[in-house]
Symmetry: C2
Subunit: 336 residues, 2 copies
DNA sequence: CGAAAGTGTTGGAACGTTCCAACAAATCGT
DNA sequence: ACGATTTGTTGGAACGTTCCAACACTTTCG
């Protein structure tokens, strides 16, 4: 390890020019003569010079960095969204600081605070758990975008999400079109997204004049939760022939509950999940699902943020993306 | 958005003290009188003061930040490792910059370069794809640790990984103890980890005097690859009764190949995977696997890095962690 | 041919912190 | 009662960059 990292000054000395000129050359200005440029590059590579981002960000008061806060890395759908975000960010020549909230509002707040200290120029919140108040405060301080939840009317805050109510409706529509009537719903617990999906389920059931068949069973956005909810549905004695499960991970659990009871999917029970995580498509799962365009949500979310960075006063925008049905092997016709 | 972020100077002016004192107070020094401290805190909260990390890192020449480079966020095992790393890093009061290499060596290099510009104090490389040369160069520049690959004898570079050869051996041992003899191996492609697992497979087969039964089929660390390799094994006509698949994701694919041929797991074919990703334990997959202690690998890798940051000249260390067999429903006795 | 308009280049002042030597005031020990 | 210590506090010099006004030299052109 060198005793001291070389600075722009060392490069200037070695190349026999002023530090200002080195600064210009490093940033590729065209006002530098060919010879100077050559000498500078030569000196820089010889010394192993690397610009100091902290100094740079202090001097020009721009960090060229965005903060990304993700609820929880373990849910694979977030990884897919992040990939989208990162791609867009790279295109704009920005850099990313990615942190997780570990599904814990306190940690999440702390991490956001840290990011702001690093002078990030914008914040991407993927599936946050923050109270409206703090969200308000953050958006007042720094351009921000919320991904996968709809936030409306908060100044300085954009959002992008799929329409969960609509998605849940087409899930039920699909099952109805296969002839199912006794369609149960395994919920995703107490959170905004889960509730919207439940709402869509109820709406669609009512639309098809199946309101009296409506049946919700408590679940969660986990394997365990899906198993539990599905088990309750199957053991209810109400003769459900199909399950709409709140998300794909839970649908995997539901699959197991069905198998445990010696029943077959889709011959005896049809299952539809939600999210469109890559995993649900794996051959041995092959779960019919309502897919969100995850990568696109990431890229469009990021570009929404860049728009706001460009004009911080623009009115808050919300983008709704359409989820779409992907039919796989977990759903089939209702046996008469 | 405030026209200008308040600085330490503004706080000092409002509190009626010097900026030096504010600096001391903000860092919780005990050489500040109670009254001054109160006045400073009052002023800081009133102004909404937030320290500028760039300035701080410039002034005291420490960024309190670590860089984490992960091969690819989409493989869930990395997410589990990262969780471990983040926990440890938080404990030390450090911050994390997480970037992905998108499974692309060029991007990976670029991201590492960026992290070094940010003056990260250490680098965690999770499953990198870099040539030995660049690794060497990086380690010479900045303390670093490699996770999930064994690197030995590179100055300034520690590593932690599970013993893939040993793990593969116990996978085969398990199958042999169930009475299997014709045990095929679906490989993980051309990379160090995959080759070590293949080596362990061959060793164990030889130990059990089954060298003549050895059969490797080309696969990859993906669903697709596992399906392909397993299909080749099953269609080979060699009557394999068990498959040792290079990792869990590929094992999921293998499961499908078996099902497609109308065979049953584990009645007709036993399958053992590798990695111990949470997903493999989901009820409807329930894959027997060789589990790595993923979170522990993360935390211990991080603490290895902190040791090196504390003493950059210590000799390179490698920690080997033991993988362990988790028996689930994808493996069973060989039918006579 | 002399003023105007480029072309390269430069030193110094920011940027917002931390560190350090210096100091004033209060407390101490003898 | 007086130097020595302790307790708070301070201004200024770093840290490594970017920006700006100013420069010395061409070149252009009316």
């Amino acid at each position: 390890m060198a005793p001291n990292r070389p600075t722009i000054k060392d490069v200037a000395a070695l190349a026999g020019v002023s530090k200002s000129l080195v600064s210009l050359a490093m940033r590729g200005s065209d006002r530098v003569s060919a010879e100077s440029r050559a000498a500078i590059i030569e000196a820089a590579t010889q010394l192993g010079y690397r610009p100091n981002a902290a100094a740079r960000s202090l001097a020009d008061r721009r960090s060229h960095t965005l903060g990304v806060v993700v609820l929880d890395l373990l849910n694979p759908i977030y990884a897919e969204i992040i990939d989208g975000v990162q791609g867009e960010v790279r295109q704009h020549g920005y850099h990313t600081m990615l942190v997780t909230g570990n599904d814990n509002p306190v940690i999440e707040q702390g991490e956001v605070e840290k990011l702001l200290e690093f002078q990030v120029e914008g914040l991407v919140l993927i599936g946050h758990r923050m109270p409206a108040g703090s969200l308000d405060a953050i958006a007042g301080d720094c351009p921000a975008v919320v991904i996968s939840r709809a936030e409306r009317g908060i100044a300085g805050l954009d959002s992008i999400s799929n329409d969960d109510v609509f998605g849940a409706r087409i899930a039920v529509d699909h099952l109805v079109s296969l002839g199912h009537q006794s369609i149960a719903h395994v919920t995703g617990g107490i959170n905004e997204v889960a509730m919207l999906r439940t709402l869509g389920y109820e709406q669609s059931m009512a639309n098809h004049r199946l309101a009296d068949q409506t049946a919700c069973y408590d679940g969660a956005f986990t394997d365990e939760g899906g198993y539990r909810g599905a088990a309750a549905a199957l053991d209810s004695g109400r003769g459900h022939t199909a399950l709409f499960v709140a998300n794909d991970i839970a649908a995997v659990g539901a699959l197991a509950a069905v198998a445990d009871r010696g029943l077959d999917v889709p011959a005896d029970i049809s299952i539809v999940g939600y999210d469109g995580m890559a995993l649900a498509g794996l051959r041995s799962l092959s779960i019919t699902t309502i897919a969100q365009p995850l990568a696109r949500i990431g890229t469009e979310g990021a570009s929404l943020l860049f728009l706001r960075i460009g004009d911080p006063t623009r009115p808050p925008a919300h983008i709704g993306v359409e989820p779409r049905l992907i039919i796989r092997n977990s759903s089939g016709p209702c046996r008469p």
